[in-house]
């Protein structure tokens, strides 16, 4: 094999394999993500925080191409900075989600990233929006990324309306744990962000502290 090309990870696009999830409770939202960034078969970053702030009380979860997702998040962060100054108050979660959706839709052929936008504002409380491929829809919870396919059954069965903050946090951690075990492109640690009227709390749960299930 003369002239073996450069290592695969140099030519493969860097994707955030990923499992991301966001869920709304009465008074706020919980967002969760894994931390693995892969380029083909190699793990380029095993501790990346995929929960990116768009504003004080609005976060987004990144999935798909790492560069595309980060760029969209940074652009929307910039637009929200100016927008919040102009309106003189914190922006609505719907505004942030609309800004993300507009970029995702306009450049849908060039970009391959899916961002879940979630946060708290004083008009509508906690809200979760999915913006896959340029659509905008508000949902009680949303999952995304390659790992999400392995846990649709779990989230559909386990979700109950009216869970409180602690139950939502546990739900998120359980979902991430299961997805990270089954999806090769998800893993590492779990990042959790809880947003409510009083503030934003970021937490990391290390790999060995994640809940274990049947075969572990």
């Amino acid at each position: 094999m003369l002239g073996e090309a450069e290592p695969q990870w140099l030519s493969e696009e860097v994707k955030t394999g990923t499992t991301i999830i966001a869920i709304e409770f009465n008074g706020g939202v919980v967002l969760g993500s894994d931390s693995r960034v892969s380029a083909g078969e190699s793990v380029v970053n095993r501790v990346m925080n995929k929960l990116s702030p768009l504003h004080d009380k609005i976060y987004c979860a990144l999935s798909g191409s790492a560069a595309d997702a980060q760029t969209i998040a940074e652009m929307v962060n910039y637009q929200l900075d100016v927008h919040s100054m102009e309106i003189g108050e914190d922006p609505q979660v719907r505004s942030a989600a609309t800004l993300v959706k507009n970029i995702s839709y306009k450049y849908k052929e060039e970009l391959s990233a899916h961002l879940i936008v979630a946060g708290w504002d004083r008009r509508e409380g906690g809200q979760v929006f999915a913006t896959l491929k340029g659509l905008l829809t508000r949902q009680p919870f949303a999952v995304g990324g390659s790992g999400s396919s392995y846990v649709y059954g779990f989230v559909d069965a386990e979700y109950r309306k009216g869970m409180n903050k602690k139950e939502c946090q546990q739900f998120v951690v359980n979902t991430l744990s299961l997805a990270m075990k089954r999806d090769g492109s998800s893993g590492g640690v779990a990042y959790l962000v809880t947003i409510d009227e009083h503030g934003t709390e970021e937490k990391v749960i290390l790999g060995n502290d994640l809940p274990t299930f049947f075969d572990q």
Binding site: E74, M75, N77, Y78, Q79, D81, V82, M85, E86, G88
Partner: protein, 246 residues
């Protein structure tokens, strides 16, 4: 050729007069005084304060929608003096410039850089024939992460500078002399002293006793570095403190 060939247009657009003056820029300064308001800014040892008059000329006006104090970023605030519309235009530009800086360079813009940027933009208006200079003056205040409390002013000529204290508007000459006298001995100004000195300056040059509803006060302090405007009750407390000292 002693008169030059500008045929008397030197007063109409921003080109030099034979004496080397830019009449349009000078007229812009006069426009600032037209609004009839005066604003004062004072830098204390751990805070910066800006005070301006709140005049609501029409009884039908909703006074809660009238303001000359603006947030440019969460940490940088400003008071505008002069033409209202020009003021809003400059404030909007400042907000966009600050947002772009953060997006491009990844950190919050500082007050001195933002002031310089606005001054550079104002300078362009003094050279372009198709745009007139803006008839407003901006005083910026912030807690700089390195330098502590800072007070900057930029004017229609494109000049900008940092100040210990400054005044702009109809009575700026009198107000500036008052401030020079009070700050001659370079006193250490606490936050309360700075607010009260600013209010007293305005009261003295305008020969008015203010009510809390006739003033707007914006502050940044070391413990609360985000720019905020004082509530009516807080202004009232300062007015009472001034009255008690006298």
């Amino acid at each position: 050729m002693s008169r030059g060939s500008n045929a008397g247009f030197d007063r109409h657009i921003t080109i030099f007069s034979p004496e080397g003056r830019l009449y349009q820029v000078e007229y812009a300064f006069k426009a600032i005084s037209q609004s009839g308001l005066t604003s004062v800014g004072i830098r204390g040892s751990d805070s910066v304060v800006v005070v301006t008059q709140k005049k609501v000329p029409d009884k039908l006006l909703d006074s809660s929608t009238v303001t000359n104090m603006f947030h440019l970023t969460p940490r940088i605030g400003c008071v505008m003096t002069g033409h209202n519309a020009d003021s809003r235009s400059q404030v909007h530009r400042a907000r966009v410039e600050a947002g772009e800086w953060k997006y491009k360079f990844g950190y919050d813009i500082t007050a001195d850089v933002l002031c310089r940027r606005l001054a550079d933009i104002s300078q362009v208006y003094t050279q372009n024939a198709e745009m007139r200079p803006l008839g407003c003056c901006m005083i910026l205040v912030a807690m700089d992460p390195q330098q502590g409390p800072v007070l900057y002013k930029c004017d229609p000529a494109g000049y900008y500078c940092g100040f210990r204290a400054t005044a702009v508007g109809a009575k700026q000459t009198e107000a500036n002399s008052y401030l020079e006298k009070k700050l001659k001995k370079k006193p250490e100004l606490s936050h309360d002293r700075a607010v009260q000195m600013a209010i007293s300056c305005l009261a003295s040059v305008l020969s008015m006793d203010f009510k809390a509803t006739e003033l707007e006060i914006g502050v940044v302090t070391k413990d609360k570095p985000k720019f905020r405007t004082l509530l009516e009750a807080e202004i009232e407390a300062h007015l009472v403190a001034i009255a008690e000292r006298e």
